[in-house]
Symmetry: C2
């Protein structure tokens, strides 16, 4: 049974847990600082498919089937799947999942989707609506670039504030029992739009939303940043992370060495030419499933706030000169 | 507390109810058979905005604020809002809601979105995660046409199987207590893709999904179509409705005069030139909020299955020759 805590936070008291998880990535992601953390690295990011969109769906299938394998269940045992991605009408997820006959609820939170789907899967299990639920998301550099920016063959220059959409997918299976990572609390994000119109600086557009969600969470729980082993945003990149620290410090909330951003964890900015860092919903998904969850399982981390952030623009809204609404959803994870 | 019933259905035993609802539509919808059912009819479908996308957001705001007014609450009292639409990256909802500071979870189910958001809002309240939740969705003929088909000024011919995207929005506020319509059961849809590739015959693409969801629901609950006052799909149109009847009859499930399709309820096909009927997530939303919920409230209907159907294609997937995956989510509503 879920219980409200403060104005905006929900405590999942039935003790839903992670039963299995998987992270799969492309070549570039597999060459970064987290090399060795992933279930699979695909050097051929076409996934031997005819389109980048099909390649992304294939990547998501890999994460999905591997996470279910780790949980020891088959797709037919899943009561509900929460899935989403960056493509128009969430087609990476739809076409990935159409072969599995799984009850599906499409989610859209841009790069916040991993936290959103995980929160929904946790709530579905906590409430008794599902015995087994899963959360999956993906992104692919090539499908995202041509949809949101330019065709790859155009060879457009990237600005220093631009982030690199990760070719990656992560999936988490949630259920009861076992000794997996516990999903403890959820804070659903609100849209915060400070008027940023630069689609090449999404970190700045999302940082105020992350600050809003974290501030509300700390208020609701009467805790402070130092109370957690890790606070992981995803994906603010270098610009957005600095801005988040500044915004929170103005409220007396100091983010120290326990603060990391998934977009800065996935790539080495010195050697991998990703400018401000990684992004895309697959980025925080892969860092969560490949790095953070295993660290909690091994006892290296005990209490983690996973705060995935999304920039809710479209190519149409950007062309129409609209500013970029940001959002950030939080899930607390413990041993 | 939610309880599972059969393989795929969830019973909401904490008795969540509809506290308020609203439906707003454009000129054409206001001239159809349901004229007089809506909270507002906007003859100027530009909503005095500079783009069709902004117009759709304005329409959604109208449904949202009116539903909250009817429920007697302010946006700041809402614990969570489930919102979605047909536009790329769900921007009609995002830009509609950015002024309200409401915790938001973006949903994508194409034209099934009203059932999906309603199911999620009901589950959020039933589980205790939210005291007050809302579900909202919208569609706009002009924003949908140019995104999925052709620019309006191109003047493309429509095929006889094509449906007319409704310019409409509906919103439902869910909470506990009162005497509003009860949200009783949920069956989450699975993707069914029978290989239809004609983006101008989405009824045919969605009908198998509706048949799948209804078949699973009847099995789980050990009931039959005749046990309900109304089974309302939305929006299969003329082609999809016939196909659904045929598919279910092969399983011995006969849909009689208690079966209606929201796409056929909203428009008069004889006089309104909408070809196979209405579509768009605003269609079933407006019929639900403008017609069905009031009928239950007045005691004219007692037990209703609302089964909204979605065609999960994108312009990109259609251009790439992909078939159209269908989905249908079910919510049972009673007095």
């Amino acid at each position: 049974m879920a219980e409200r805590k403060g104005a905006s936070t929900v405590t999942l008291s039935a003790r839903p847990r992670v039963l299995g998880h998987a992270a799969v990535v492309g070549k570039k992601e597999g060459e970064g600082p987290l090399a060795g953390c992933f279930d699979a690295v695909f050097d051929d990011v076409t996934m031997e498919k005819e389109s980048w969109e099909q390649a992304e769906s294939a990547l998501q299938k890999e994460a999905f089937t591997r996470a279910l394998d780790h949980a020891g269940i088959s797709p037919s045992q899943l009561d509900v799947l929460f899935a989403g991605d960056l493509l128009d009408q969430c087609t990476a997820s739809t076409f990935a999942m159409r072969d599995y006959s799984v009850p599906l609820l499409g989610q859209y939170g841009a790069c916040s989707t991993m936290a959103q789907t995980l929160a929904m899967a946790a709530l579905a299990v906590d409430s008794g609506a599902a015995d087994l639920a899963a959360a999956v998301t993906s992104s692919h550099f090539c499908s995202a670039e041509r949809q949101f920016r330019y065709p790859l063959t155009y060879g457009g220059q990237r600005t220093p504030t631009a982030q690199w959409t990760a070719t990656a997918s992560g999936c988490v299976v949630v259920g009861m029992g076992g000794k997996g990572v516990r999903l403890r609390e959820i804070t659903v994000g609100r849209i915060v739009d400070m008027g940023v119109t630069d689609a090449n600086n999404m970190g700045a557009a999302m940082a105020p939303a992350a600050a809003d969600t974290l501030t509300r969470y700390f208020e609701d729980t009467d805790t402070r940043p130092g109370d957690y082993d890790l606070i992981a945003t995803g994906d603010l990149g270098a610009c957005g992370s600095s801005l988040l620290k500044e915004l929170l410090s103005r409220k007396g909330l100091l983010l120290g060495s326990n603060y990391r951003d998934c977009g800065l964890m996935l790539f080495d900015r010195e050697t991998q030419d990703v400018h401000a860092g990684g992004s895309g919903c697959g980025c925080s998904a892969a860092v969560l499933c490949g790095k953070i969850l295993p660290q909690i399982e091994r006892g290296e981390l005990h209490d983690v706030l996973f705060v995935a952030t999304g920039a809710l623009l479209s190519a149409t809204s950007a062309r129409q000169g609209e500013s970029i609404p940001g959002i950030a959803h939080l899930v607390r994870l413990t041993k």
